[in-house]
């Protein structure tokens, strides 16, 4: 049996603890999607109109560095959330996203989710706190890389 958007949302670790009602509301904005290996998911600076929960595969966040090409800054794997630029104006992607391998995800429509959150602050709170957690984890990972831990000690 094919899993519905609702099933996929209910199974996602990111949304664990959300009520059935909230999951159902979100599922109306959600659809399953597949990124073929080698396809671009979005380009840096583009309109951030959705976000994704990755189920399988891998997405590279990249940025174009003149003379060096598209440099990967971070890789997101199964269980990760792709995209938070949809949360705040000007709703533009800060980095690009690329699927180096076939990747399965659930896509959620940003304007639909924002409308749901405005109507239902409890859902807004639930989602925002989860996104803050993701942002904090990414910030900590970035700080860890800034420390350059594996460098030869001086």
């Amino acid at each position: 049996m094919t899993a519905t958007s609702y099933d996929l949302l209910a199974a996602s670790a990111f949304l664990t603890g959300l009520s059935e009602g909230h999951l159902r509301q979100l599922s109306y904005t959600a659809s399953r999607c597949v990124f073929r290996a080698g396809s671009r998911v979005f380009a840096e600076g583009g309109h951030a109109d959705r976000f994704w929960l990755i189920n399988a595969g891998r997405i590279d966040l990249d940025t174009h560095v003149p003379g060096r090409g598209d440099v990967v800054v971070e890789t997101l794997g199964p269980g990760a959330v792709l995209g938070w630029s949809w949360l705040f104006p000007p709703y533009r992607w800060h980095f690009g996203a690329f699927a180096p391998q076939t990747t399965f995800a659930v896509s959620l429509d940003a304007s639909g989710v924002r409308r749901l959150c405005e109507r239902d602050p409890a859902l807004g709170y639930q989602l925002t706190s989860r996104f803050v957690q993701v942002v904090v984890e990414r910030l900590q990972a970035t700080r860890m890389r800034l420390l350059d831990l594996y460098k030869v000690p001086s």
Binding site: V71, G77, A80, A141, M144, L149, Y150, V152
Partner: protein, 268 residues
């Protein structure tokens, strides 16, 4: 306490600053080291440093992988085949293998930290049927700094999941970019029956342990290797004291339940 003479019978350059030495006893061998234990390795005329065993348990042959960071490790890194070094040991606590039948084994190594874990990977490959899932998660600064890359395919073929990530890479790298604790997010394992073995820079071990604890792995089941500076190796000089522990005797491998309050403690 006297070092035993060992001859370098093999040497492999792993990365630009890291080499693996195969050492055979000139006369009397040390006892075979258990995975996670270390030797005190003496470069005659230069000095002596603790180095973990990176090969399978074997009394007739000791394998060490070392990174040149200072005078002694540089001298050892530069040792040539035929040269004689001094070894004492094996010392310290080990990874506590085997772990119970049916466990999931998660092995996490950052940088040179993969070297002390390689004997645990060999153990897991040798006794693969004993465990449910076995995963090796590897982090390094750049793709060129990754250790033992030629072995990853064999590990995979032996039923071990291998995840690799680097802090930074150019466009020729097709693998993941990010920190090693991120690899834990998508990993499938049963937290309550998982044992994790973690080795790398202390900050990396702390973040890895937190990621494992968040997934529900009990603190005592997360074993970390605290590789603070050591001197005598025999719990006499106190050089490696960390809180209530003398790491050469009570470590380097310690459960995170004991290590957690100590990892913020600065070098003595």
């Amino acid at each position: 306490m006297m070092p035993l003479p060992y001859r370098v019978t093999g040497r492999r350059q792993e990365t630009s600053d890291t080499a693996t030495l195969i050492l055979e006893p000139v006369r009397q061998p040390m006892a075979a080291a258990r995975p996670g234990q270390f030797s005190m390795v003496y470069a005659f005329g230069v000095g002596e440093v603790p180095i973990s065993v990176s090969g399978p348990p074997d009394a007739d042959l000791v394998v060490h992988t070392l990174r040149a960071v200072g005078a002694v490790t540089r001298a050892l890194h530069d040792a040539r085949v035929g040269q004689v070094l001094g070894l004492r040991g094996p010392y310290g606590t080990d990874w506590g293998l085997p772990v119970p039948v049916g466990s999931d084994l998660v092995i996490v190594g950052g940088g040179i930290g993969l070297a002390p874990l390689r004997p645990a990977v060999y153990h897991a490959l040798d006794q693969r049927a004993r465990y449910r899932r076995v995963a090796v998660l590897i982090g390094a600064r750049t793709p060129d700094d990754l250790l033992f890359t030629k072995e990853y395919d064999d590990w995979r073929a032996g039923g071990v999941e291998v995840g690799v990530t680097v802090d930074r890479a150019d466009t020729t790298w097709a693998g993941r970019v990010g920190v090693v604790p991120d690899l834990i997010t998508g990993l499938e394992f049963a937290p309550e029956s998982t044992v994790a073995l973690v080795c790398g820079p202390e900050v990396m071990m702390r973040f890895t342990a937190r990621a494992l604890l968040r997934r529900g792995v009990p603190p005592a089941a997360v074993r970390v290797s605290l590789e603070r500076n050591m001197h005598c190796g025999t719990a006499l000089c106190g050089h490696c004291q960390l809180g209530p522990l003398l790491l050469c005797r009570d470590g380097p491998v310690v459960g995170y339940d004991r290590a957690q309050p100590l990892t913020g403690v600065k070098e003595l």
